[in-house]
């Protein structure tokens, strides 16, 4: 019951922050609110017992992303351009897309459902054998680093290539002098 109340309050915060971001005319304040949005999301993940995901969200979403958005704004300027006409059509598009997404979630299993397909496949095997096979208490680390080592290698490679690509692109523009 208490966790239900906490989650409802946090979700309410998320909606309020999202509306505030849209209504604000100041991009600097909007970037700061996005950081708070990530922090509230992290709290929501924590209330769902996903400590590792919450940790990542707090570090990446609230920390680094905010700094990168601010750094981008320092290059592009903090001024907000006046909105183009045709807002009604775009609003309709967003509402329809949102409704389709909500409709898509109706098929998903309930949160924490032990009968869900994700908990029937390899998860029971990991839970039963990882204490003997890997021998470390944090099962998330066993799955990420050992059972799913290929995926994590791919992720690290993606991060490396993304960083390299960004550095090459930004440095070239600076050399040519046409930002």
């Amino acid at each position: 019951m208490i966790s239900w109340v906490i989650e409802a309050v946090l979700l309410g915060f998320l909606v309020a922050i999202a509306i505030a971001v849209i209504r604000l005319g100041n991009l600097f304040a909007a970037a700061m609110l996005f950081g708070i949005y990530s922090l509230v999301s992290a709290s929501l993940f924590l209330s769902m017992d996903a400590a590792d995901v919450a940790f990542t969200e707090a570090a990446v979403g609230a920390g680094v992303s905010t700094v990168l958005i601010l750094a981008t704004l320092a290059k592009t300027g903090f001024a907000l351009r006046p909105p183009r006409p045709g807002a009604a059509g775009r609003l309709l598009l967003v509402v329809v897309t949102g409704l389709v997404l909500v409709w898509g979630t109706l098929d998903l299993p309930r949160f924490g459902d032990p009968e869900a397909p994700a908990r029937q496949h390899v998860a029971p095997r990991y839970i039963e054998t990882s204490p003997e096979e890997i021998g470390i208490p944090n099962m998330v680390t066993s799955v990420l680093a050992s059972y799913r080592g290929y995926d994590t290698l791919g992720e690290v490679t993606v991060i490396f290539i993304a960083g390299l690509g960004l550095v090459l692109l930004l440095n070239r523009r600076d050399r040519d002098g046409d930002r």
Partner: protein, 140 residues
């Protein structure tokens, strides 16, 4: 970016940056027991450095870790990770099967996980700093 003249910001940053970097290392080496691991530790380490660069100036921070060193560190993280995989292949196991890294499979798993998490830390931390420098460096 010039050095920030605000004494409060400077003192607080000087006090906080070592703590943030230390916390990143704690998250790194405690990842087997609590939440966290190489990815989170890398991001925290990178943001500690970003905070330092924001207050003391990007030029100053770039003198501590030059761009070339960052690129080498970012690449060495991926190489270390993939290298562990190659090492397990050479020792007769499957790619990234850490069991063969030591006589005892569980010890092998520990060694493998510590090494690949170190690779993740190196790449993530240096890419975060690299992206920040790429955005704010080279102007003003």
């Amino acid at each position: 970016m010039a050095i920030d003249k605000d004494p409060v910001l400077r003192v607080v940053t000087t006090f906080l940056v070592p703590l943030i970097l230390l916390f990143a290392l704690y998250v790194q080496f405690h990842g087997e027991y609590g939440p966290g691991g190489g990815f989170q530790a890398g991001v925290i380490f990178g943001s500690g450095f970003v905070l330092y660069a924001l207050v003391y100036g990007v030029d100053h921070a770039e003198r501590i870790v030059p761009a070339l060193l960052l690129r080498l560190l970012a690449a060495s993280g991926v190489l270390l990770y993939a290298g562990v995989g190659v090492a397990t292949l050479l020792l007769g196991g499957n790619f990234l099967d850490y069991d063969v890294l030591a006589a005892n499979p569980v010890t092998g798993q520990h060694i493998g996980i510590i090494l690949i998490e170190l690779g993740v830390l190196l790449t993530v931390a240096s890419v975060v700093i690299m992206i920040f420098f790429a955005f704010v460096g080279g102007h003003s």
